[in-house]
Homo-oligomer: 313 residues x 6
Amino acid sequence: MTAFNRKETAEKLRNAVEILSKNDSYSAICHKHYIGEPSISMEKLDMIVKKIREIIFPGFFDNNTLDPVAVHYYMGVYTDELFDMLSEQILAGLCFACKERKDSELHLMDEMVYANDIAADFISTLPEMRRILSTDVEATFLGDPAAQSWSEVIFCYPTIKAISSYRIAHALLGLKVPIIPRIITEMAHSETGIDIHPRAEIGESFSIDHGTGTVIGATCIIGKKVKLYQGVTLGAKNFPMDENGNPIKGIPRHPIIEDNVVIYAQATILGRVTIGHESVIGGNVWVTHDVPPNSTLVQFKPKWQQFADGAGI
Amino acid sequence: MTAFNRKETAEKLRNAVEILSKNDSYSAICHKHYIGEPSISMEKLDMIVKKIREIIFPGFFDNNTLDPVAVHYYMGVYTDELFDMLSEQILAGLCFACKERKDSELHLMDEMVYANDIAADFISTLPEMRRILSTDVEATFLGDPAAQSWSEVIFCYPTIKAISSYRIAHALLGLKVPIIPRIITEMAHSETGIDIHPRAEIGESFSIDHGTGTVIGATCIIGKKVKLYQGVTLGAKNFPMDENGNPIKGIPRHPIIEDNVVIYAQATILGRVTIGHESVIGGNVWVTHDVPPNSTLVQFKPKWQQFADGAGI
Amino acid sequence: MTAFNRKETAEKLRNAVEILSKNDSYSAICHKHYIGEPSISMEKLDMIVKKIREIIFPGFFDNNTLDPVAVHYYMGVYTDELFDMLSEQILAGLCFACKERKDSELHLMDEMVYANDIAADFISTLPEMRRILSTDVEATFLGDPAAQSWSEVIFCYPTIKAISSYRIAHALLGLKVPIIPRIITEMAHSETGIDIHPRAEIGESFSIDHGTGTVIGATCIIGKKVKLYQGVTLGAKNFPMDENGNPIKGIPRHPIIEDNVVIYAQATILGRVTIGHESVIGGNVWVTHDVPPNSTLVQFKPKWQQFADGAGI
Amino acid sequence: MTAFNRKETAEKLRNAVEILSKNDSYSAICHKHYIGEPSISMEKLDMIVKKIREIIFPGFFDNNTLDPVAVHYYMGVYTDELFDMLSEQILAGLCFACKERKDSELHLMDEMVYANDIAADFISTLPEMRRILSTDVEATFLGDPAAQSWSEVIFCYPTIKAISSYRIAHALLGLKVPIIPRIITEMAHSETGIDIHPRAEIGESFSIDHGTGTVIGATCIIGKKVKLYQGVTLGAKNFPMDENGNPIKGIPRHPIIEDNVVIYAQATILGRVTIGHESVIGGNVWVTHDVPPNSTLVQFKPKWQQFADGAGI
Amino acid sequence: MTAFNRKETAEKLRNAVEILSKNDSYSAICHKHYIGEPSISMEKLDMIVKKIREIIFPGFFDNNTLDPVAVHYYMGVYTDELFDMLSEQILAGLCFACKERKDSELHLMDEMVYANDIAADFISTLPEMRRILSTDVEATFLGDPAAQSWSEVIFCYPTIKAISSYRIAHALLGLKVPIIPRIITEMAHSETGIDIHPRAEIGESFSIDHGTGTVIGATCIIGKKVKLYQGVTLGAKNFPMDENGNPIKGIPRHPIIEDNVVIYAQATILGRVTIGHESVIGGNVWVTHDVPPNSTLVQFKPKWQQFADGAGI
Amino acid sequence: MTAFNRKETAEKLRNAVEILSKNDSYSAICHKHYIGEPSISMEKLDMIVKKIREIIFPGFFDNNTLDPVAVHYYMGVYTDELFDMLSEQILAGLCFACKERKDSELHLMDEMVYANDIAADFISTLPEMRRILSTDVEATFLGDPAAQSWSEVIFCYPTIKAISSYRIAHALLGLKVPIIPRIITEMAHSETGIDIHPRAEIGESFSIDHGTGTVIGATCIIGKKVKLYQGVTLGAKNFPMDENGNPIKGIPRHPIIEDNVVIYAQATILGRVTIGHESVIGGNVWVTHDVPPNSTLVQFKPKWQQFADGAGI
């Protein structure tokens, strides 16, 4: 504090400190660490996601060459680095989620081994993840007349960022990693405006055009070759509470979107409804019931009103 | 410049420099500094917001322990650091806003004292701010079946970022700090896609799900236990101009949302209308009139059209 | 790798490396560099955009003074620095786009000269760009009763970030710079949620309020004094495919918005339709046909439903 | 590699890689890590030394105030932060030194506890370390007519950096921390040119003027109020080898300097000799025998030679 | 603290904190800040020295071009930036030195003006400083057969770093700036091992070869075309104390070196003696009396001793 | 500039700028860049040296594992990265040295190829360099009773930094790389106080204890198993001038040190003299003539003087 040493100012600060330090002020919203436990780090998770993108799309986000010998070296090193970083953050996630622990020391070592196993299992999925993301790149390119090349799509389309983060997070969730998957998709949400819950199931050749404001809920099931536009909501209509007034977790409450569906901007689809394959949902439409295959839904034609002065609405 | 020293290139650059340096080219869109005045800094404001979050939610965004003795130390130091950083940026805001000053030296010292007073008053509000933010965390947790714990909500839900930034900015605005509050909410807007004007009044237990595209205007008044979804607009319908054709500032022109209201995705509510308590506003709905308490508004059921070839819309 | 040296883990990693290193795994989604070619760098492009903003709006984003002699020096140095940085990134863009090159060395020198020429031509457009952006600032200020001053608008309104990035990208695209313009507008998209394609034509005195989710497509033509709100889509309805099933590039497929039009939040206008001058398009409206001048379009009044228990939708 | 893809270049690189990867090429000079072991980090050790200086000399190297309440907070927080950082690096040092470990997991937890104990013991010595360093500051001030104030001495005299790093390292060595003490004094050596072995014993009120090139060996014992100048060597004359030709470790082989001795620039004192109290050793003198108390040693007066041309030596 | 929460550890830390927080523990070695006073910053002083080198030696340490128009811009901007940074650090130095102040607010503004005046006066000396440093560069080049070009000397010889830092510090000291000059020469001391007191007077065409360990005391007067080697000490023999036993400040106590003198490695010259022009002082010599012009001093020829076993000394 | 806009200050700055911008003020000490030429960068050279140390000493300065498969990957990637960085800086060195160029574009491409060739040749020497540095590590360990292990020597002994930088620089000089070798050894000189000219020839099993102030001149030839202490100068006595008074470059003028010689602290050996094998040179001795093999040189025993008051020297 470099203040004028005025008594009044100092007193205000000291009072605030006293209250803020009281256990009943902070006990409900604080978080405890234990010794040796790594912390969840946004910076490290960001590095992890970037490292995976470097592995998936060689030459785009690093400077490695495509000389076959060198690719081999780089894949080896990137994988090794990823294994280390990911093991640590998985461990951090396990610690964050663990609440009831009594003997933290004993478990820490076990969890470290467990985190290593998960990280290795995750890395085993990367070749298949690369294949699926290739289909997403292709679908994005085909779906946008403004796209010049696959390279442009990989390099600067937000949809590729959002989908690759989702596929990474989904794989980690499948390996039962707590909290980390959610953070990874929220980071992509912040960057792209696209909010995909890591628990959603999404088929290959998926694309989202523009994307800002699109929301895909936790229990969505999306088929192949589905295309969404910006502002599309695949949400829950409402959800049952338990006897304590808390929402019941894990009930299917988001839409099923079958293969080859297109959903235009700002459309809102709520609840466990099914949009049949090959359907087209128009922009701004609000859907809360099933839609049969091959359907096309559009909004009512807007009513025109001519105001005398053209000013108000 | 490391160009080929080709005359033509150099000439183009020099011509541009000459025009850009002319007073009548830049006079309308430039900004003057005076000696000793600190500059508004996005980096420092970001640090200030993070420091406040560290104070509010101990152990989440720092590594301090919850040993009661140490918490006391940390609250003391964080508060002291916050006081310094905040005083400087408040002073920067006062300088930015000040236009007509003639004798900058004399006033600078007075404004420094004034900035210190404001910073101390702001810090005095932190205990109450912590209490209110706890209710927002609780509301967010209860409102999302996908949320696993309060910790997850605090750590990675964008709504907590947006609401805490709003509550900080709102408190600063109440202390008559110029421009800084707006910058703080715009920083949260950029990060979360949620745009809350710092002048809005928002009650406790507030939550926004997903949030991208949600807008809350400057003269909104929102009650307790209100829940919004993504893409909700609480905006102005239109606004009266003065005799010079400039908008008249400060007139109430945004909605009043009473207690326990839920507003679903993409709904648009415009003008100084009142949405009565316990009401539910459906997604994509456009509202410009009062809604009585306990109402439920939904969009017309969409008209279905079956196209022969399934291609057009 | 700092693992437990357990055979199983090591084997999993090695297997993944082997597959990821196979040419047919990565050949479709990799990118090749050649010697001496600079890489496209997000960090450098960000610095370029910031440097241009420093030139356009003196005193806001740097600390230079407005002493006329010093302004001259600063404009000279900023321009010189910009010329260097921009030449390099334009060259990087030319290299990225170039696919069929056989003799990379020979062409590199020619492309370097070409990149310098483009950079100089771009800098020649800055004085006019400053003039147009001044009209955008003015329009934003007049259109928002919450705005206190031009300074506030320049300093913290996301719309100014989005529009200035668009005008920079549009100028570069007009000089035939590949990929870079798209990256610049995507960077602004990520920061502001406003997605303006650099190929769109936008007149002066343009403003977007709040902006999150607004999309302006590649072949849009927008007149003077147009104002948009958040979530507005100026998109394509659909697009013809060529005989191979690929979208035909470059066909006009987005709306024409004439002078003095206002389009409210979440409105969706699709296809090559014309919104006549002085028209007002209401929020959440979906438009796929021409609208004559001086029109006002609003959504149907929503149907009210009173539920017994106020809970469901 | 972004080379011209010329076969010859690629082959050279591949050959080098093959040899460098052979076990017998690197086995003698490589270092193994085990899982969960922290690495020794120069950056963190530098932060640790700076943090200790902040604790010892309040207000010089941080911005805390001397308001008694705030000092308490800061001492609490700095100590807490130091405890964490130091525990980790002590553990890293223990791991570095440990060679024969078979079951790394079991020991790691024990060593973590052990590192914590050492860190706490070290922190217990800080009050006494502050007192002794105060005497060093006073001695430096009194010994240099060019010094303006204690503040100047603390803030910018290299001797204070070197002595404080030595006293920190010496205390850690006394607590049996491996390798870290040596690194801390080598960091000060690099910064100041003063090379003090952490094992040396040095009394209070110690000062070194200018200091570059001064060396104080591992088994030196230095009394109170001793002053050295630059280039002074307190070294070993020679040392006995064991039957394998390796130097026998730990034998006293460096000088004992008693109280109130002054040793001028470039003097060299070698072997386990004693310089008696109150003695003065002149510059450039080379001493390998005991010197009784109250002695003054100077170099022979130089021989003058007048060269005809004044050019050669 | 993330310890095992063991009582004993916590108690040790708390005890240390209590003692370290006692006023009589820290009162002699602490430093007070007042509001609005900038802090002395090593980082900023380093930037200042680098900025001055960029001004003095155009094109070596920046990327500006030598196109005469651009040089003008860069000199203008660098000077403007230097003026700002330097004014702030001069003010920081004035505040650091000021002890007895009662009414800090009143004086701060006056000192700010004063700091600006000094900064402007300093900048006025830069053209002459460039001229003198050119003679130092030339002398260094001529004196070292290993030097390939002036460029190499400017770019990588430590002597140029040490001498330019000295000349900067000396000019600031002449303008009565407290403490900053000493810090600047100590920074160069740390980097080069050359310790030149800013108060020394040094003529043009000065050079130091290798330089590590060379010391030039505060009251030295050095003529033109003097050349020193590494390890040379121009120091004080001893100094009178006042009645309180404190050294009397400001008495001439270091050598005068006349024009065209060469002093070889490790030579030590102590006290207010004069080394006459055109003299050569051999390596390792220790001089405490005047040396007439055109003299050559060398050390006695060393005595040879042949040991039987060749091992000891 | 944020000054008080006082005319006088502004005028001083403008005057300085005018003079500093005059061609005859800066023409002798400026440096020209051409388009496309990389700049020499201290940061990049520091990264290059660190990368080479990572290759030479696996596991000390990085985190790679010693699993044989992974070592292979890392060696491949490090080598590839080194090749890129080194090629660029070699090219920068070639450009720096080139003065008379007329057609910079044409040559740039050729020099790029040439730089690649040199970089590849340098990498081919790394296996042998690793072997020699191993002998230096061993010699350092054997020569210092305070050393605990090879690991400690590699990790924190300044001599290993200085010698490895020398061996790198020497290899680059052998490949005719201009200026870069000198910068690399000067960087080590700054860090360690040890100044080894890259042109010197130094045999294996070389060590320097403490090292500060040791100088090894450009034409020195040093045999195997030589050990030096701090402050040793292997310098030139004087050097012949050509008819223009410039030193003649490239003449042998520094000592030859044969195998198994030990030279103690502060000894100075000047001129093209030979110190015969197995000799021991005592501290502070000054040698300008040949010394036969198996000799031991020591300084005269110092003369003792007893002063009455023990104060002066």
